[in-house]
């Protein structure tokens, strides 16, 4: 280990380092102690002999020992690094990396919520804000203020659930019911906030419908309302066409068909080119190439008047759509009840 002069022989040290083939064994550390250990390391010993040398030899001897020390430290660091690399490489090949990962539970928002947020987000770009309101309403807010003629067949399309309680008294009262649309919030908004009004109104609405694959007695709806001076049918079409291109796809075509709602006139249904066949006609669109996505219209002057506004000065448009139906379309859900069952197997797929 030392040559004739008593110095450690570097080459031999290096050879021994190379024989050490694993990090775990004490070899590398033992070698480190044997050479550089504070008490009995060979180089440490050599340095201790420095004092015994004649002064003229000390400088050269010290420099030589330091060189060896530096070389050795570098060599031992290299060896350590090499062994670490090979250990890692070995680890890579030893483990079966196809074994399943350790996962965490992930959470998420309901598909209908996501559709609602997306729809509201698009309308926010168009200057709308979100408004909400009560789900139990009076007849006045749900029907009369919205120009439903009392006792009219139009009511039959809103199979209404009534609350078992006495009617609310007063001009805006009447029987208590579960709102059949979020339109009462339109009226509440107009009554409390002067134009320009631009709101979208998401919320639960209720119908006395049998619970089956395409009906639920409670479901989400989004309505929108814009009232100001100078709002026209062209604005209605433009706004909703813009929304459709943002929500569905840039190449979505729209068409507006006349329809009837007591609270709008002119009233329309908006269709978009079928998402499945692109307009060629398929079973999903009953061969028409179109899918009905929302009802809309110019706010009826009677509604504007009922809100205490001057119907000659203010015009507006309103629309309503079913985000549950859009979620079904988007995610390929065929039974609306799946949306209300909290089935983990379903939710984990769509959230």
């Amino acid at each position: 280990m030392t040559d004739a002069t008593g110095y450690p022989v570097l080459d031999e040290l290096l050879t021994r380092l190379h024989r050490i083939d694993t990090l775990d064994a004490p070899g590398l550390e033992a070698e480190h102690i044997a050479v550089l250990g504070r008490k009995s390391g060979a180089l440490t010993g050599a340095m201790k002999t420095l004092a015994t040398l004649p002064p003229d030899e000390r400088r050269a001897f010290g420099a030589a020992v330091n060189r060896v020390k530096a070389r050795f430290e570098a060599a031992i660091a290299d060896r350590r690094a090499a062994l670490e690399r090979s250990a890692k490489a070995q680890e890579r090949t030893a483990a079966d990396l196809t074994m399943p990962a350790r996962r965490r539970w992930t959470g998420g928002e309901h598909p209908v919520t996501r559709v609602i947020d997306e729809i509201c987000g698009i309308f926010r770009e168009l200057g709308f804000a979100v408004a909400i309101g009560p789900e139990v309403e009076t007849e006045w807010y749900n029907f009369l203020a919205l120009n439903f003629p009392p006792d009219h067949p139009a009511m039959d399309q809103h199979d209404t659930l009534y609350v078992d309680a006495p009617p609310v008294e007063g001009e805006r009262g009447g029987r208590q019911l579960l709102r059949t649309h979020t339109s009462p919030v339109q009226m509440r908004t107009l009554l409390t906030s002067p134009p320009p009004v631009r709101v979208v109104i998401p919320g639960m609405v209720y119908r006395n419908d049998p619970y089956d694959p395409s009906h639920a007695p409670a479901f989400a709806q989004i309505e929108g309302l814009a009232v100001d001076e100078g709002i026209t049918f062209v604005d209605l079409k433009a706004t909703l066409a813009h929304w459709a291109r943002r929500f569905f796809a840039a190449d979505t075509r729209v068409r507006f068909r006349p329809s009837y709602f007591p609270f709008t006139e002119p009233s329309a249904e908006m269709d978009v080119s079928c998402r499945l066949c692109g307009g060629g006609g398929c079973p999903a669109c009953k061969g028409t190439g179109w899918m009905e996505v929302l009802g809309c219209g110019m706010v009826h002057p009677a509604v504007i008047t009922n809100a205490g506004l001057d119907a000659e000065r203010y015009t507006g448009f309103a629309f309503g759509m079913g985000p549950a139906r859009m979620a079904m379309l988007r995610y390929g859900v065929t039974d609306i009840r799946q949306l209300y069952e909290g089935d983990m197997r379903f939710l984990e797929q769509v959230t």
């Binding site: 399943p100 996962r103 965490r104 959470g107 009560p134 309680a165 079409k237 507006f256």
Partner: protein, 792 residues
């Protein structure tokens, strides 16, 4: 409403394509839900000319016909019908043809004789009920011609979804009027075969009462029945309707009954005027009186049901008793039958709201009530009655006994409205030329008088459009006939709304994100529940008792969803919901709307994390997971509330003590392998959340001291922590619980709880002496106040 394509063709006098008609109707506002081809299944049936008939050698009742089917070969057809005769044409089903009933014709032997095809009766082809013999075709078409080419049998039934404002579309004439506008064509009532030379006397107008053909007609309830036309026809012969009429009814989905009844139905389907025919011999008086029902009055209606009629209902009565619920259904006793010879035709107008009331009271919705409820043309009764008389005379014979009568106590004209062109532009956003506007209004049957000088049009609205009253109604009509697609869709300038997003919506969105971040999946449950407790809101007309109440809490619905997952063998469930709960607080009148609150709730059950093959993830959630979730939920939903321990579970209360949340283990209908269910619910505080302010990060080192304390069971960790904080002084930065230990040498009623105290001064490194002093203060205070000592 079912429309027959061929009936519309008769109006428009041009061939129509059903799909094209459907598209046009849709763009005019009447969606066609489906197109049902009629008799398209007769494609294989051909005209067969019988050239010879000879007896069957082995059967008395069978004969063998030689049929010319247009090919070189003559077919032998064994036939049992009595009316097979040489020289006549019959529908012939060749071998391989499938009949509407599903029977496929094969070559087969009948009593030893080969039969190569089949001659068919009308019923075998799905054409009515006549099965007395073969269908004798009245056509000269060459043998072999497809039956559908030789006779106008095939049709398309368009099932139209008519909106409640458009009663005019409940008759073929109204639909033809719309299509004529769309095609730019004209339309007219199709002629009735056999009625060309009839000259029906015009009706005699009267007020409340009149007489025709010896029958007194009277209106005693002018509110319920403002107008009543009637006619008497004597000497009719009841029998089947002619082929063309039966086919039209059938295509419109109405069963043919007899010539007289069919005539009334035909007029209803054509002109949207429900009619009724009475057997004159059964009417006492004879009279027909429109009056209110008498107390306790009863009637057996045409459907054979005896009904009590309430006094608000208008009835048609003879001199003694009710013979029909006006506008809903006639009575059985006065029904036209096979033996009827003299009839009275009723063509009345009934008030829509009264009909609506009556049919609800009777629980009986009919084609007639449906139409009266939506509004029949008050001014078109004379035309409808004349049409019906012509049909009866042409199909059942007889004589009009007298001029028809028209009782009309309060005469009126269709209303006049005004349309301002500037208003039209204000609403539609496009300026349309005056003549275009006029053209569109004329197309719907209105009479217009323009007043260009004051830029408005006087519009006399047609009687068949009771929905057109106000100016905005006319604007819609102009836009509709112009075509909605003709209006541009370029986004213009707009003012943004002046409201912010609803705070509760914003707050709910934040809670939703937060709970999803906790690993929970959002669920939606129905807000209706099977039972309600104190203060719950009950529904008057629920779908079923399962949905009889409005929820006061989201948790029962979520627990049901956990159970549903269990029933699917899913054990690990983690759900949350944000929704409205309803309650009537004590003190709030039932005549006020109930209190609604938005709440966030969550349930967890099963494994804390997904099981992994390495052995992790085998533990179920426990109450500490619940506490963590609850604290997170309260911080999200109601940041100003604090979580407290009450009755062995956790609640959240506001500073003034109001309960706004709770968390506990929940009861559920659990299978043996299921884990415990934990749930929380917290009300949403809609007030805005201030953004958190960041504290400067420490630049000095901290000193930690661990204290294992002997804590009696009646002292809570929270109390100990509060005492520590009090006593330690401002240098204490943090207190953590490291562990809890019970048993061993500690004895009952005592536990060891280890706390780690972290001290730090923001401006200097603490000396050991400073920390020692603080620790001594803490230990002193714990001993003095709580008798808690350090574990030695």
């Amino acid at each position: 409403m079912n429309l027959s394509r061929r009936w519309l063709e008769a109006f428009l006098r041009r061939p129509l394509d059903a799909r094209d008609v459907a598209d046009r109707m849709a763009m005019l506002g009447a969606t066609v839900d489906s197109i049902e081809p009629i008799h398209a299944d007769l494609g294989a049936i051909r005209i067969g000319l019988v050239e010879d008939v000879r007896p069957h050698p082995n059967a008395d009742r069978l004969r063998i016909a030689t049929v010319n089917d247009g090919t070189e070969t003559r077919r032998n057809v064994v036939c049992g019908a009595p009316n097979v005769e040489p020289g006549r044409r019959y529908p012939f089903a060749p071998i391989g043809a499938t009949l509407p009933g599903g029977l496929t014709i094969e070559k087969r032997k009948l009593r030893g004789e080969v039969s190569e095809g089949m001659l068919c009766s009308a019923r075998e082809l799905g054409m009515g009920q006549d099965h007395t013999g073969l269908w004798e075709l009245e056509t000269d078409a060459a043998p072999g011609t497809p039956l559908l080419e030789a006779l106008p049998l095939d049709d398309d039934r368009l099932v139209v979804d008519v909106t409640p404002n458009r009663p005019d579309l409940l008759g073929h004439k109204g639909a033809a009027r719309e299509l004529a506008a769309s095609y730019g064509a004209t339309y007219r009532l199709p002629p009735i075969p056999g009625a060309e030379s009839l000259d029906v006397l015009p009706a005699q107008r009267a007020a409340h009462e009149a007489s025709t053909g010896g029958v007194r007609i009277s209106i005693e309830d002018p509110d319920g029945c403002p107008r009543f036309h009637a006619a008497v026809i004597r000497g009719v012969r009841i029998g089947p309707s002619p082929e063309w009429l039966r086919r039209r009814l059938e295509a419109a989905g109405v069963r043919s009954i007899s010539n007289v009844v069919d005539a009334t139905n035909y007029v209803m389907l054509e002109l949207n005027q429900p009619m009724h025919a009475y057997d004159l011999a059964t009417l006492r008086g004879p009279a027909l009186v429109a009056r209110r029902a008498r107390p306790g009055e009863r009637l057996v209606t045409l459907d054979g049901v005896e009904r009590a009629i309430d006094a608000e209902t208008t009835v048609i009565a003879d001199a003694e008793r009710a013979v029909g619920i006006a506008g809903v259904m006639g009575g059985a006793e006065t029904e036209v039958g096979d033996a009827t010879t003299d009839i009275v035709l009723e063509c009345a107008w009934f008030a829509p709201s009264r009909i609506r009331r009556a049919r609800r009271a009777a629980g009986l919705s009919t084609e007639a009530s449906y139409r009266f409820e939506r509004g029949v043309d008050l001014w078109n009764g004379a035309e409808a009655l004349r049409r019906c008389i012509e049909l009866v005379l042409a199909t059942a014979g007889g004589m009009l006994a007298d001029a028809p009568v028209d009782c009309w106590p309060q005469q009126s004209h269709p209303p006049r409205s005004f349309l301002r062109l500037d208003r039209l532009t204000q609403v539609l956003g496009v300026e349309l030329p005056l003549h275009t506007v006029e053209q569109h209004l004329v197309a719907i049957g209105a009479t217009v008088v323009s007043k260009p000088e004051d830029r408005r049009i006087a519009v006399d609205v047609p009687g068949w459009r009771p929905d057109l009253r106000a100016e905005i109604d006319l604007i819609e009509e102009v836009a509709r006939i112009h075509g909605y697609d003709e209006f541009p869709t370029a986004l213009g300038r707009f003012r943004v709304g002046n409201l912010p997003d609803a705070p509760a919506f914003v707050a709910a969105a934040g809670v939703r994100r937060g709970l999803a971040g906790q690993g929970l999946l959002e669920a939606v449950t129905l807000p209706m529940v099977p039972e309600g407790g104190e203060g719950a809101v009950r529904l008057q007309n629920p779908l079923s008792t399962d949905y009889g109440w409005l929820r006061q809490s989201l948790l029962p619905g979520l627990v049901r969803q956990v159970e549903l997952n269990w029933s699917n063998h899913v054990r690990d469930v983690r759900l949350f919901e944000i929704g409205t709960v309803f309650t009537r607080p004590s003190g709030r009148s039932a005549a006020e709307l109930p209190l609604e609150r938005i709440c966030a709730a969550g349930v967890i059950s099963g494994a804390r994390e997904p099981a992994h093959w390495s052995g992790t993830g085998r533990e179920d959630v426990d109450r500490w997971d619940l506490k963590g979730l609850f604290e997170a939920a309260v911080a999200l939903a109601f940041p100003s509330a604090s979580v407290q321990v009450e009755d062995a579970s956790w609640v959240a209360r506001t500073d003034d003590g109001r309960l706004v949340g709770r968390a506990s283990r929940l009861d559920a209908d659990a299978p043996p392998w299921a884990g415990a269910v934990y749930g929380f619910e917290v009300e949403l505080d809609p007030s805005a959340r201030p953004a958190p302010r960041v504290r400067a990060l420490p630049v000095t080192p901290a000193s930690e001291r661990d204290l294992a304390l002997l804590v009696p069971d009646h002292v809570s960790a929270a109390q100990v922590e509060a005492r520590i904080r009090d006593a330690a002084g401002p240098l204490l930065e943090r207190v953590e619980v490291l562990d809890e230990y019970r048993g061993g040498s500690l004895g009952a009623g005592l536990r060891s709880v280890a706390f780690r105290l972290t001290f730090r001064a923001p401006d200097r490194t603490l000396s050991a002496e400073e920390v020692d002093k603080a620790e001594a203060r803490v230990l002193g205070a714990l001993e003095t106040n709580l008798e808690i000592r350090r574990r030695s």
